[in-house]
């Protein structure tokens, strides 16, 4: 430790906060609406004909329909109206970037700049249905057909639920210990507080007809060829298993983390006080994962958190709403700067060095101006990548890929007979929970048609 330092280097410590503060920091970020608030908000809805919000929802939820049911006090009917199109309506109500989807399309946005709070109303409607003792959907008579689903995230489980409803027997294979995918492992705690993701998985499985095998990974414990042989159809909803590297000097230093790994650790922690966090944090990236790690680092007690993105605010994949949320949580966002190197001291990272960028002729270039940010920890959140290796048989992928992900048609059908795919692992995937749910639902309907035919 350098004697001239006021604080030890690196200044990384657990238990920075009191138990009460941890509890408050990781509680539900948007508390649910009270009944009277929900009715007032529901009554703001114009009940549009051919409503733009429905079209803006990837799962096509009948939004005016469910909101009208809230207004009349038919909350159970509202919940069912949502869940029949989107079985993950509960988590989508919490994590959807509604400000770029349904709420952006809401005619009240154009009229007054103040849309109906569709996400909050969706949560109000779905919470009681998810908490009810009886699952609202029943299975059709058994078809005797068997479908394998690889990946227990929103895409896989949405597919499994719809197939189960249609009478097929489904087995879900999940590499991790728990189902839920990013809802369980990858999203900020305060968005899905109180183990909501687990409760929602239990709700989805309660339809029946879904066997679950966790800790089983494609490519390691079973092969695609086995699945195609053993099952009538296969759905791949494997998500993105890899993370992009910075490819700059110092990436291997201690204190440099993949954001997704740290979030996973946080989400699985029984006690947030056990999580060591630096005093000064640098986050590199511009997506929701970057926002989630930056805000959660702050809420774990980090003093200075700076998020650095190589392009402008408009180019960030995190929405304006998310950026503002980070800023109101005390995260400083610096735009138009790319990492040059990470420098260390005593084996740990000490500084992140950036170069300002500009766009020239459509290309991002460094301007040559350099600045450095002191850092006890650096989080990399520059994107995740699809890992195709588990699909390989004898060294080459069995499936046609496009842009590094699985190529599918409009129904989610891959190039391979009997195999469908959806969610983040497919080409054109939008890294949206709600899109993954739609992919799974749509593939399930296509699988059902093919099995019936």
């Amino acid at each position: 430790m350098a004697g001239s330092q006021v604080t030890a280097h690196p200044d990384i410590a657990a238990a920075r906060l009191s138990p009460e503060v941890y509890r408050a920091n990781f509680a539900d970020v948007h508390p649910p609406l009270e009944a009277d608030q929900a009715v007032v908000e529901a009554n703001r809805c114009y009940f549009c004909y051919d409503a733009p919000c429905v079209e803006a929802c990837p799962t096509g939820i009948d939004i005016p329909g469910f909101i009208r049911k809230i207004a009349t006090g038919n909350v159970d009917g509202a919940g069912l109206r949502i869940l029949e199109e989107n079985i993950f309506g509960g988590s989508c109500a919490r994590v959807c970037p509604t400000e770029i989807l349904c709420e952006a399309a809401c005619v009240r946005t154009e009229q007054q700049g103040k849309p109906i709070a569709i996400g909050a109303l969706q949560r109000y409607a779905t919470d009681p249905t998810l908490a009810a003792a009886v699952h609202p959907f029943t299975r059709a008579l058994s078809t005797g057909r068997r479908v394998a689903v690889v990946g227990g995230g929103p895409a896989g489980l949405a597919c499994a639920h719809r197939l189960a409803m249609l009478g097929h027997d489904v087995t879900v294979f999940e590499a991790r210990e728990r189902l839920g995918g990013l809802n369980e492992y990858g999203i900020a705690e305060y968005k899905v507080a109180d183990h909501f993701a687990r409760a929602e998985v239990d709700f989805v499985l309660a339809v029946g007809g879904i066997a679950v095998r966790t800790g089983v990974a494609l490519g390691r414990d079973l092969s695609l060829a086995d699945l195609r042989g053993d099952y009538d159809a296969v759905f791949l909803g494997m998500g993105l298993a890899g993370v992009k590297a910075l490819e700059c000097e110092g990436e291997e230093l201690q204190g440099v983390f993949n954001a997704v790994d740290y979030i996973e650790r946080l989400r699985q922690a029984a006690d947030f006080a056990t999580l060591p966090i630096g005093r000064r944090i640098v986050v590199i990236g511009g997506g929701n994962t970057a926002i989630d790690i930056a805000v959660q680092a702050k809420r774990l007690g980090a003093e200075d958190v700076t998020l650095v993105y190589r392009r402008t605010a408009e180019a960030m994949s995190a929405t304006g709403h998310e950026q503002e949320f980070a800023q109101t949580n005390g995260v400083r966002i610096k735009h138009s700067a790319q990492p040059v190197r990470l420098t260390g001291r005593d084996g740990g990272v000490a500084e992140a060095v950036f170069e300002y960028t500009a766009t020239q002729g459509g290309r991002l270039v460094g301007t040559g101006e350099i600045f450095a940010l002191p850092a006890d920890m650096v989080f990399k959140a520059i994107g995740q990548v699809f890992v195709a290796d588990p699909l390989a048989e004898g060294g080459s992928s069995l499936l046609a890929l496009a842009n590094g992900r699985i190529r599918v048609d409009a129904d989610g059908k891959t190039s391979l007979d009997k195999v469908w795919a959806g969610g983040d692992c497919i080409a054109g995937g939008q890294d949206l929970t709600v899109q993954a749910v739609e992919d799974g639902k749509r593939a399930a309907l296509a699988i059902h048609r093919s099995l019936a035919g």
Partner: protein, 431 residues
């Protein structure tokens, strides 16, 4: 700013805003608070003969509309449940302390001359400015042969009004019940009996809602309920119509009218006055928000009057009466079609679905690329203006004149009317 001073059937008040005979005017305490807040007059809650009536728990029902409370209001409260002597004493004190305000005393006693004579003498002792005969109360009292039991029988109205005019020097206002098929029967009877003015409407017979757990009408009194008197914003259109009918009736012409029914804003008041009211009476809005609403009632009305260059209430009182016609005298040659301002349109589609499902299939739902566009099909539009009402954007849909204004023909002149009287334009008032 305009002068709101009101002279009405022998009453004078600094403004036309009176509190109606109702719970807010049951005691000196409330009325003094109202006068301090600026109300121009009050009608003291109805006095009756001792022993006083007994009231129930609960007494009120209300309609909420899309989260807005008290869009309609109902009550089963009876007349004052305080001893007559206490009320008379308080009336005397209040009138002494507030000589510039109109203080009217509402009365309801059994339908015999002696009863009325007796109570009128007692009220005169208080120096109150006048009396209002409660012929309207639809519950509780009517079963005892009072209130609307009198108000629904024109002969009784005339008889009692005549007694009152004989036995008091005070101006007599007759308060009318709307629970009749035509308001003109009772109104004309009041005029024949010598009434100095009429006031209307009293409350409308109603069951405001049913408690679906108790399976009982609200307000629920120990598991049971009864019909109640409906009032508040929901009844304003009914009241406006009845006021207009009296204002344009030749037999009632000139009778001062105190307008009552759902008045909550200065604009409501202006509408009543335009249809012939000289004062307005308010209850539900005060019960919802307190007496302070009178501030904007006065201020808003005076400012609006100034923009129209009306110096006083009488300058616009009754101005809209001549434009209230029987349907058969409306110009059937006047044509409009809807116009949608595409710049203002927010693409909610409500105009289209309303017209498509329930009117004339005159608004097309179009898509150009991903964008929605709603367009009026001029050849199909009948100018009904349903779309304008359902559009949530002010000024987005307007009705544009489609005829050249050169022709005028009403139903009495129309060839489709077997009873048509010929080509000469005929106008006429009601009846």
């Amino acid at each position: 700013m305009a002068d709101l001073t009101t002279r009405f059937a022998g009453f004078k008040s600094p403004n036309p805003f009176w509190l109606a005979s109702a719970p807010p005017t049951d005691k000196a305490y409330n009325i003094v608070r109202a006068f301090k807040a600026g109300w121009g007059g009050v009608v003291w809650k109805t006095l009756g003969e001792d022993p006083p009536v007994v009231n129930t728990c609960s007494r009120y029902g209300a309609t909420s509309y899309k989260g807005n409370r008290v869009a309609g209001f109902s009550n089963i409260e009876l007349i004052t449940d305080r001893p007559l002597a206490i009320n008379l004493q308080e009336i005397k004190e209040v009138k002494r302390d507030w000589p510039d305000r109109a203080l009217v005393v509402s009365l309801m006693v059994p339908c015999d001359e002696e009863s009325w004579k007796r109570i009128l003498a007692a009220v005169e002792e208080t120096d109150a400015d006048g009396v209002e005969l409660n012929f309207g109360c639809p519950h509780g009292m009517s079963e005892r042969g009072m209130g609307s039991a009198v108000g629904q029988v024109p002969e009784y109205i005339e008889m009692v009004t005549r007694w009152c005019k004989q036995h008091t020097r005070m101006p007599v206002i007759v308060k009318l019940t709307p629970n009749v098929t035509s308001i003109l029967g009772p109104a004309r009877a009041a005029v024949r009996g010598g009434a100095d003015a009429v006031s209307l409407i009293n409350t409308v017979n109603s069951i405001v809602s049913v408690d679906l757990d108790l399976m009982a009408p609200e307000p629920v009194v120990d598991g049971k309920g009864t019909h109640a008197g409906y009032c508040g914003p929901a009844v304003k259109p009914i009241a406006l119509h009845m006021v207009a009918e009296i204002a344009r009736d030749p037999e009632c012409r000139g009778i001062p009218i105190s307008g009552i029914g759902g008045i909550e804003s200065w604009r409501d008041a202006a509408e009543f006055i335009a249809l012939g009211a000289g004062t307005v009476q308010v209850c539900t809005a005060a019960m919802h928000y307190g007496f302070r609403i009178v501030d904007d009632l006065k201020d808003g009305l005076a400012r609006w009057m100034a923009t129209k260059s009306y110096a006083g209430i009488e300058d616009f009182s009754g101005r809209a009466v001549a434009n209230v016609r029987d349907w058969q005298y409306l110009n059937l040659e006047y044509k409009t079609i809807a116009a949608i301002d595409q710049e203002l349109c927010i693409k909610c589609g409500l105009c289209h679905i309303a017209c498509e499902d329930t009117a004339h299939q005159a608004i097309a739902s179009l898509r150009n690329g991903g964008g929605r566009r709603y367009e009026v099909i001029a050849g199909e539009c009948v100018g009904c203006n349903l779309c304008m009402h359902v559009c949530p954007v002010d000024g987005c849909i307007t009705m544009q004149r489609a005829d050249d204004g050169s022709r005028e023909r009403n139903w009495t002149q129309h060839p489709n009317n077997p009873m048509a009287v010929g080509a000469s334009p005929v106008d006429g008032a009601a009846e």
